[in-house]
């Protein structure tokens, strides 16, 4: 209940800011208006790779490999496609005796807007929005555990339970130009589940691309970006 109310509050806040931002900046410089200067509209592509998901995979029992292809329009608008492969392999938890396994691809579609006043410096501060989807199947099992009252051993095992999820992500991020075409950047994300099917066991734990459902709705990426 508490989690839901916080989620609702943050969702409303983001929506309000999203509605407020264009109007409040419109007077100053035209938030969504293409700047008129000598820089051409098409400024190239960028490929990026997320280090956070990869580090998660190395350091924990879930994570993802994720890359992105981004179009640069006038250093101002950045339509983007993010694709990844999410994986979780949690083997028999010491306390709960639960195992969880899934591997599945996911994608996100969206766009970023560079909100820096000087847009052509190579460094960028941006806000953006993503729509994301994954279709995945999970294996969940629990080792035999005695019923606390009746004392008979109970266990269950479910293989290949089919699930899916649609979600949105509000993005705030920063790219810093390091040298030549190389940028480093991070993005912070607030995720909102739109619709989902978690199978018949109640819930799922790790959703590829979304993360674990028992953690906060916040997420982050740290990207190595190469301008093409």
């Amino acid at each position: 209940m508490n989690r839901k109310s916080i989620s609702t509050y943050v969702s409303r806040l983001i929506l309000s800011l999203a509605l407020l931002l264009p109007s409040s900046r419109a007077d100053a410089q035209g938030f969504l208006k293409l700047e008129q200067d000598s820089i051409p509209l098409f400024r190239g592509f960028a490929l990026s790779f997320d280090l956070v998901g990869m580090a998660q995979l190395q350091l924990s029992d879930y994570g993802q490999y994720e890359g992105a292809f981004r179009l640069n329009l006038h250093d101002q608008f950045f339509p983007i496609v993010e694709v990844g492969l999410g994986r979780a392999n949690h083997e028999e938890d010491e306390v709960t005796g639960l195992s969880y396994k899934t591997t599945a691809p996911y994608f996100r579609l969206g766009a970023d807007v560079n909100i820096m006043k000087k847009k052509h410096t190579g460094n960028r501060v941006y806000v953006g929005l993503r729509y994301a989807y994954t279709n995945y199947s999970v294996d969940i099992a629990r080792r035999p555990t005695p019923d606390p009252i009746w004392q008979n051993n109970t266990s269950f095992s479910v293989d290949g339970m089919s699930c899916y999820q649609h979600w949105l992500e509000a993005v705030f991020g920063l790219d810093a130009k390091v040298m030549g075409p190389l940028h480093l950047g991070w993005s912070a994300r607030y995720k909102i589940r739109m619709s989902h099917h978690d199978g018949w066991l109640g819930n799922t734990w790790y959703v590829p691309g979304f993360g674990t459902q028992d953690s906060s709705a916040l997420g982050a990426t740290f990207n190595v970006i190469i301008d093409i």
Partner: protein
């Protein structure tokens, strides 16, 4: 010098500004100026690490509501003990001890038995009666997270009882999960 006379653009890594035909080269952008923000981002990553959030109400039990003849809420006048027999058929386990003046009481429900057998022992003064209750149900595992103990949810399909002290026992709400609904309405016979 009016603003219209100035233009600036990017040439490689440097900013170039032209003022009335004079070309001035400004210093390259320093990527390390953004380092504090990058570090802030790393801190944010750390702060957004997962925390375990299991449901606060994570026990599954059945709720019995005591009713009178008109199905209104009532209070148990007698003393009640409830027990069951463990799976091995040898040990008995007391589930409810010396309940009196109750309007509702909760009883555990087995994880995976198709049918639970409960024994209700009701007495008043030196007079005692024993009833047996059989509860048939489905058993569905319920998963929240690998960090939270799994539970079993149930749907009560039927209930039957002997009628020494219990007058009637009916299913009011058949789904037994984390929600604490009143699953059974139970009515005891009045002693003269």
């Amino acid at each position: 010098m009016s603003m219209q006379e100035k233009t600036w653009y990017i040439s490689g890594d440097v900013k170039v500004r032209e003022d009335k035909g004079t070309r001035r080269v400004l210093e390259p952008e320093k990527w390390w100026k953004a380092l504090p923000l990058l570090l802030l981002g790393i801190l944010f990553l750390h702060a957004s690490c997962s925390s375990i959030e299991c449901p606060i109400q994570n026990t599954v039990f059945s709720v019995y509501s005591i009713k009178d003849g008109s199905a209104a809420a009532d209070t148990l006048k007698d003393t009640i003990l409830i027990w069951t027999v463990r799976h091995d058929g040898k040990d008995t386990l007391l589930l409810y001890n010396r309940g009196i003046n109750l309007s509702t009481f909760n009883l555990p429900i087995s994880y995976t038995n198709e049918e639970d057998t409960l024994y209700f022992y009701c007495w008043k003064d030196n007079y005692a009666e024993l009833d047996t209750v059989w509860i048939r149900k489905t058993n569905t595992p319920h998963f929240e997270s690998v960090d939270c103990s799994a539970s079993y949810f149930h749907e009560i399909t039927s209930v039957r009882t002997t009628h020494h002290a219990i007058d009637s026992l009916i299913i009011h709400y058949p789904i037994v999960d984390y929600e604490q609904k009143e699953h059974f309405y139970i009515r005891f016979k009045a002693h003269s």
